[in-house]
């Protein structure tokens, strides 16, 4: 298998059958995707499109009805390969009686990481996901967003080469969402491969190199974000400090050359950016007051 590929599927098919073996649901139909090493790949689709089924098949949680899949050049059930993979499930599935430290220590032990190193990694990951204030609290007392954060931390405890994230920003506030996206971008810088499964299109658009869209278990389209989203027949320019007269002159200039003006508008800020700006400014001022005291 090509060593530049982190994930490869060949006609991957999954049919869920009822108890008596009768054909029930075609969850995934002959999926063929190739994800390169170092790439952030987004798997998109509406509910029930087969995203999570694909992830479960890749991780060996369920078995394909037809076809096969390879992770980092090995079959999905290869135990050694699993030590190079990090996985964040859609639901936060952890022992709720453990606290954050114990959780990361438990998963670290499963990777046979030495005790001292486990401690160092757990400390840095807890800091990274912003759970220092609740690290001794049992997970049963965590909010959904906090559980996602500890989920991300456990997915990274083994410093994996391939990270599979199912709805990583689900349940997170905008700041948590941004921090998660920053973490994913940082992973890309470190040369890691990320398979991201989400139905929050803006998240995927912001960070993914390539995407695939699934619907009813079938691959509809795949490619780079630029290729899929850019309109080759449209040109967008953002200009500053233009008077109304200059705008009118530009309009007539374009019309004279057979150009079509689709829209002229003043761009507005996104609600996410506005929210982040306000909250981050407030936090900065609170921090400075605290430090001065």
């Amino acid at each position: 298998m090509d060593k530049t590929l982190a994930i490869k599927t060949n006609n991957l098919t999954k049919v869920y059958r009822s108890f008596f073996g009768r054909k029930k649901v075609l969850a995934l139909n002959k999926l063929n995707i190739e994800i390169k090493v170092g790439e952030i790949f987004g798997l998109l689709g509406p509910n029930g499109s087969g995203k999570t089924t694909t992830m479960k098949l890749l991780l060996g949680l369920i078995f394909p009805t037809e076809g096969n899949a390879f992770l980092l050049g090995k079959a999905t059930n290869d135990i050694k390969t699993k030590s190079r993979i990090g996985f964040l499930p859609e639901e936060s599935c952890f022992y709720r009686f453990l606290n954050a430290d114990e959780t990361l220590d438990f998963y670290g032990q499963l990777f046979n990481i030495p005790k001292k190193e486990r401690k160092v990694r757990a400390d840095s990951l807890i800091k990274l996901v912003g759970l220092e204030f609740a690290r001794k609290r049992p997970l049963r007392q965590y909010s959904k967003g906090m559980l996602r954060r500890i989920g991300i931390a456990q997915a990274l405890i083994n410093d994996p080469d391939l990270i599979i994230l199912d709805e990583p920003t689900s349940g997170l506030d905008p700041i948590g969402t941004k921090e998660t996206k920053d973490i994913i971008s940082e992973l890309k810088k470190q040369g890691k491969t990320v398979l991201l499964c989400s139905h929050l299109l803006s998240d995927v658009q912001d960070i993914c190199d390539r995407i695939a869209i699934l619907d009813k278990g079938t691959l509809q389209v795949s490619g780079t974000i630029d290729n899929l989203l850019s309109h080759k027949d449209l040109v967008e320019m953002q200009l500053r400090n233009l008077s109304d007269e200059t705008v009118e002159e530009l309009k007539s200039f374009i019309t004279e050359r057979d150009g079509e003006i689709v829209s002229i508008r003043h761009p507005s800020n996104t609600l996410e950016n506005l929210f982040l700006k306000i909250v981050q400014e407030r936090r900065k001022s609170t921090d400075s007051v605290t430090h001065s005291q």
């Binding site: 599935c93 952890f94 990777f111």
Partner: protein
């Protein structure tokens, strides 16, 4: 192996933080301490305390084993914790073995707590016993006959009971081997428990001639003892009877013609010397723990393919039926005999069934085979019952412990691979 121990540690931690464990320990401790206030109906109070303590450990330990072991894996599957474990470099074998090992740890803890409390209570009750009949905490060394031989022609054989008649040249001969005691003051005690019938009297007691032969010294001792039907009779000899040898042969025959002695291989037991109670109690706890481990393995097997409530019911069914396997075999025997219209045994079970009916015939065809098969497939938890050793103050033979563990390991060898295969084939959707 590393992953197995990590899972085991986690399972132990999970169980320790589970309130169910503390409830069972609390109920167990209450029951154990309440036994000290139970009135002594007959015999020594210490026997009641010992019996209640051992039964409490067995009952609450078994309940804890069933509920903790049968719920852990189904809960992990239901809460999807398994998603985050099986996607790590953990094989299915390590996971299952880790779970079983973790439960062995927790059972060890439970037996340690309840066992220590029981031992402390038994010692306290023992120290408070002041009556003259009280023998103290001992564990008598019991010897079972190595060989039973019926010489001459026995009157008849019914099941495993040989009936011999007096003055017909017929005798029962038991051989005991390996008899030794460090303490020369220890007495040789022979306990017989036999069936008796007589044409001569209605009291069901007959005189029996007993001859003790020492092949080492060539000496023999004769005595006559009165034996009652199904009641123990005792004979006592000095340790010197052995005369430096280790083997004795005991020959018994009814004194008079018309008197019958019903003998089974276990009708005669010989006691010589005592072992420490503490050591015996520890051995008892080990045998009791073996059945908990067996149940943990069965619960783990069930949890690989059953849901939580179904698995608990499955384990309770196994536990219940595993305690009545002998009864199941007897029932199937009764049905078979009744259905077959057999009435030729005077001393057999068929004597009580007089009228075979269509219903019995129907039962015979439907129930006999499944009941017999089930009774052989299901684990027989009676094999782990050591209560009688403590009631009779008998040292538990090492071979009994060995037999219990062999029995447990046979089931483990059967159940664990099935658990591995089922779990490996299972999808976690």
């Amino acid at each position: 192996m590393h992953q197995t121990l990590v899972i085991a540690k986690q399972t132990f931690k999970e169980s320790v933080r589970n309130k169910i464990l503390y409830i069972f320990i609390a109920f167990g401790l209450v029951t154990i301490f309440c036994s000290a206030f139970m009135p002594a109906v007959s015999g020594e109070k210490i026997k009641i305390v010992e019996s209640v303590c051992l039964r409490s450990i067995t009952f609450f330990g078994m309940l804890a084993a069933i509920l903790l072991a049968s719920s852990s894996i189904p809960s992990d599957i239901e809460d999807k914790v398994l998603w985050t474990i099986t996607t790590k470099p953990v094989s299915q074998y390590s996971f299952i073995l880790g779970k079983v090992t973790g439960f062995v740890y927790i059972i060890g803890l439970l037996v340690l707590i309840l066992g220590s409390a029981s031992y402390a209570l038994i010692k306290v009750v023992d120290s408070l016993q002041k009556d003259t009949e009280h023998q103290g905490l001992t564990a008598r060394q019991m010897f079972e006959p190595a060989h039973l031989k019926i010489t001459g022609k026995s009157a008849k054989k019914s099941g495993n009971i040989h009936w011999i008649e007096g003055e017909k040249g017929c005798a029962s001969s038991w051989s005991f081997t390996g008899l030794e005691s460090k303490n020369t003051s220890d007495k040789i005690v022979i306990e017989s428990n036999m069936f008796v019938e007589s044409r001569n009297n209605r009291k069901k007691t007959i005189p029996v001639n007993v001859k003790v032969v020492n092949h080492f010294t060539g000496e023999s001792h004769r005595e006559t003892v009165t034996v009652a039907n199904k009641k123990p009779s005792f004979l006592r000899w000095s340790n010197e009877t052995l005369g430096g040898g280790k083997n004795l042969t005991i020959v018994m025959t009814p004194q008079h013609s018309g008197d019958f002695l019903g003998i089974r291989p276990d009708s005669l037991r010989l006691f010589l010397g005592n072992k420490s109670f503490e050591y015996n109690f520890l051995k008892g706890l080990i045998v009791i723990s073996a059945q908990f481990i067996l149940m943990v393995v069965i619960a783990t097997l069930g949890s690989t393919f059953f849901s939580l409530p179904v698995n608990i019911l499955f384990c309770l069914f196994i536990f219940f039926c595993g305690n009545i396997t002998d009864f199941m075999r007897d029932i199937s025997t009764v049905i078979t005999i009744a259905g077959a219209h057999e009435h030729d045994h005077e001393h057999g079970i068929s004597a009580v069934v007089k009228k075979p009916s269509t219903f019995v015939t129907l039962l015979n065809s439907i129930l006999t085979a499944p009941l017999t098969t089930l009774s052989y497939i299901l684990p027989n938890f009676k094999k782990f019952n050591i209560g009688n050793y403590f009631i009779e103050s008998i040292n538990i033979p090492i071979k009994r412990i060995f037999a219990s563990f062999v029995y447990m390991f046979l089931y483990i060898i059967f159940c664990l691979p099935i658990s591995f295969i089922v779990f490996r084939k299972r999808e976690f959707a």
